[in-house]
């Protein structure tokens, strides 16, 4: 019984990790390839949740189609935002990207409030996941297994894409040396548009996939982006695998922490982050900053 319970607790931790991974992997990808610190990342995550709600009119039977539609819309919006806004600040000091993406965060929050109101929007559980599974004799929401699967598949596909395709190779090359990549004839501006679109699409997918377990509100963007930054700071800001590792660590520390030190539940993610910052300030899988000569 007790072993089963710990297994279950690990599973809840992994489910939480999955949500964190979907939220933060795009942030990592965009920073790694483009050097953009996207404060509006949580806003696109929020938009994903609201779009799913809008596309399906809040009805559970439109869930699967809605999810795909959110993914596609997320990519288009991301590409659009990169072309119209982000592109203008590459050559400028970093303060500009912070100002710009922070402005986007505020604008999107107000747009959402304008179109959807201030209340919470909840989405019913899709039919396929309506009943709980019984694991070790305890009910466990089947949707959590779906979330774990979705995160695992996303990580796998992203890994295959980055390491097995030419476009992926270019993106990895962009993290190393942009000028050289451009000199070799790669259309880097277009590449950036694609990367930003992908990062945003992943965030939007994450927001949408979480909606049946959570609830959408205009304030969720800020909470989300803080969580995303904690994950990537732990894992290493420029690394997709870092996002995965950071998410899994937080999820497990949280799940096991509440068993042994329930009084301190709130402290775990921050304590973990502080520890990493002390020992490896560039994150567990990040690269130490190169010394420029």
């Amino acid at each position: 019984m007790d072993l089963g319970f710990y297994a279950l607790q690990l599973l809840t931790g992994l489910a939480y990790a999955s949500t964190l991974f979907l939220l933060s992997v795009g942030l990592s990808l965009i920073f790694g390839a483009m050097g953009i610190v996207n404060f509006a990342h949580g806003s696109f995550y929020m938009l994903g949740a609201y779009f799913l709600y809008a596309f399906t009119r809040g009805q559970a039977d439109g869930f699967w189609g809605g999810l795909l539609l959110v993914l596609a819309t997320g990519f288009v919006i991301g590409a659009f935002v990169e072309r119209i806004f982000i592109r203008r600040v590459y050559a400028r000091p970093e303060e500009y990207q912070i100002l710009l993406t922070y402005a986007l965060l505020l604008i999107i929050e107000d747009l959402v409030r304008f179109f959807f109101g201030t209340g919470y929007r909840a989405f019913p559980m899709p039919q396929a996941f309506a009943g709980p599974l019984f694991l070790f004799g305890t009910p466990f929401p089947s949707y959590y297994l779906f979330l774990i699967g979705l995160a695992a598949i996303s990580a796998l596909l992203l890994g295959l894409f980055l390491y097995r395709t030419r476009l992926g190779a270019w993106i990895r090359a962009a993290t190393q040396d942009r000028e050289m990549l451009e000199a070799l004839g790669v259309n880097v501006p277009l590449l950036y548009t694609v990367v930003f679109g992908m990062g945003i699409a992943l965030a939007a997918l994450g927001g949408a996939a979480l909606l049946p377990m959570q609830a959408a509100t205009p304030g969720m963007a800020v909470d989300a982006v803080i969580n995303a930054f904690i994950v990537v700071v732990i894992g290493g800001l420029a690394s997709v695998w870092g996002a995965l590792l950071g998410a899994v660590l937080i999820g497990l520390v949280q799940a096991l922490g509440v068993l042994f030190l329930p009084e301190w539940a709130m402290v775990f993610p921050f304590a973990l982050m502080a520890l990493v910052l002390l020992l490896r300030p560039w994150g567990l899988l990040g690269r130490p900053p190169a010394v420029r000569t």
Binding site: T19, T118, P218, V258, M266
Partner: protein
């Protein structure tokens, strides 16, 4: 004749101009961020009350002018806005306030500028226990909610209790008040688990499994707003509500919670709010609900009714004082054993010592009906105001 006529005319003119001048009330509500829904309800309730008062000719012949500002739930913003309302808008009263931390930050301004503050939502008991002369609270506070919950819990046939609450002052103090009071009433109860998720958490899975493992018979919770919405949805997926006999939440019957949960709300939760729009079944309450629906197209949440009643109660005090001057209004609130007002929810009585209003509280079990798109309360249990009257250290 000419000699005294002109000054008389002037005096009359001045008096008339004075009587036309509105009584300015600066209302602080949280209108942005995660709790904007609560601020919206509160400001709407206050607005409806102001319109009613003005329609019947105002107070002391002067109309009420309500100036609503967004405090963002942030103490710094709240203080800045309150100061601006006092110094630039020249308000006579401050009003509203959703967040406890904003209320505690704004309260000292009442002494500094001698401008009374009437709080209609912020629920930390500390606000009124500071015994400030110009701070009044016309809604019930978290300690009263906890005491009412304990009075009710003492009648339930269970001993093993657990808690899940947001990890900040409100959650911690509410649980302390509840369990201390419950142990006074029922020395045989024991606490089997306490869970403290961060306020604003979006994932409760590990808390739910940890809670279930302790096998409590009853769970007390002060999760509110989106936290309660998300917790209830996730806990339901875990079959949590079938494994505990009672789940009590003194703020769970807020329409800001039951509305978004819709038909997914679990049934049989024992919840309360500081007002429930279907109770009491009086003409007064029905008229209020009808007027509110007609004006805003939705049912009044507890925060709407508390702000509505609070503004009416303040108007009553001003009328009784025949003045808007702070000390006169204070005396009007305190005189004759404390001001009494018949609100839509029932009788509100202000205790003169600490300026805290006491009122009966309605609890009930959630239940779905075809008549409403959200769960409503059935098997209602009324906790009388006398069960919530805790001792105060204030003296007047």
């Amino acid at each position: 004749m000419k000699g005294w006529f002109a000054p008389l005319l002037l005096a009359l003119g001045l008096a008339l101009a004075q009587s036309q001048q509105p009584i300015k009330i600066g209302a602080l509500f949280t209108l942005s961020g995660n709790f904007a829904g609560y601020g919206k309800s509160g400001s709407q309730g206050a607005q409806l009350a102001a319109e009613e008062i003005n329609a019947r000719g105002g107070v002391l012949g002067r109309p009420i002018q309500l100036i609503v500002v967004d405090d963002q739930g942030n103490p710094d913003v709240g203080v800045r806005e309150a100061r601006r309302l006092i110094l630039q808008e020249k308000v006579d009263f401050l009003f509203g306030i959703d967040s406890s931390s904003v209320s505690l930050a704004v309260a000292p301004l009442t002494d500094e500028y001698k401008i009374p503050l009437v709080v209609t939502h912020a629920a930390t008991p500390n606000l009124t226990e500071q015994c400030r002369p110009y701070v009044f609270r016309t809604s019930n506070n978290a300690r009263m909610d906890s005491w009412a919950a304990a009075a009710l819990a003492a009648t339930l046939p269970v001993k093993r209790w657990a808690n899940i609450g947001p990890d900040y002052e409100f959650g911690r103090v509410s649980w302390q008040d509840f369990i201390t009071r419950l142990k006074q009433l029922r020395p045989d109860v024991e606490v089997v688990s306490e869970q403290w998720p961060r306020f604003g958490s979006t994932d409760y899975a590990s808390f739910i499994t940890a809670l279930t493992r302790a096998r409590p018979e009853a769970v007390f919770s002060t999760l509110w707003a989106g936290d309660m919405v998300i917790f209830a949805r996730q806990a339901k997926q875990f079959g949590f509500f079938n494994q505990v006999r009672y789940f009590m939440n003194p703020v769970g019957a807020a329409l800001e919670v039951l509305g978004p949960l819709g038909k997914e709300a679990p049934e049989g939760l024992l919840v309360s709010a500081r007002y429930w729009f279907l109770y009491p079944n009086t003409e007064r309450n029905k008229a209020f609900v009808e007027a509110y629906r007609k004006r805003f197209g939705e049912y009044p949440s507890y925060n709407a009714e508390e702000a509505y009643a609070g503004l009416h109660m303040l108007a009553r005090a001003i009328e009784k004082a025949r003045s808007t001057q702070a000390d006169a209004v204070k005396r009007a609130f305190e005189a004759d054993g404390g001001l009494v007002y018949e609100a839509p929810e029932g009788r509100k009585w202000m205790r003169p010592e600490d300026h805290q209003v006491f009122e009966g509280l309605v609890w009930g079990y959630t239940k779905h009906t075809p008549d409403y798109p959200f769960a409503i309360l059935e098997r209602m249990r009324i906790v009388p105001a006398t069960d919530t009257i805790y001792p105060t250290r204030c003296k007047r």
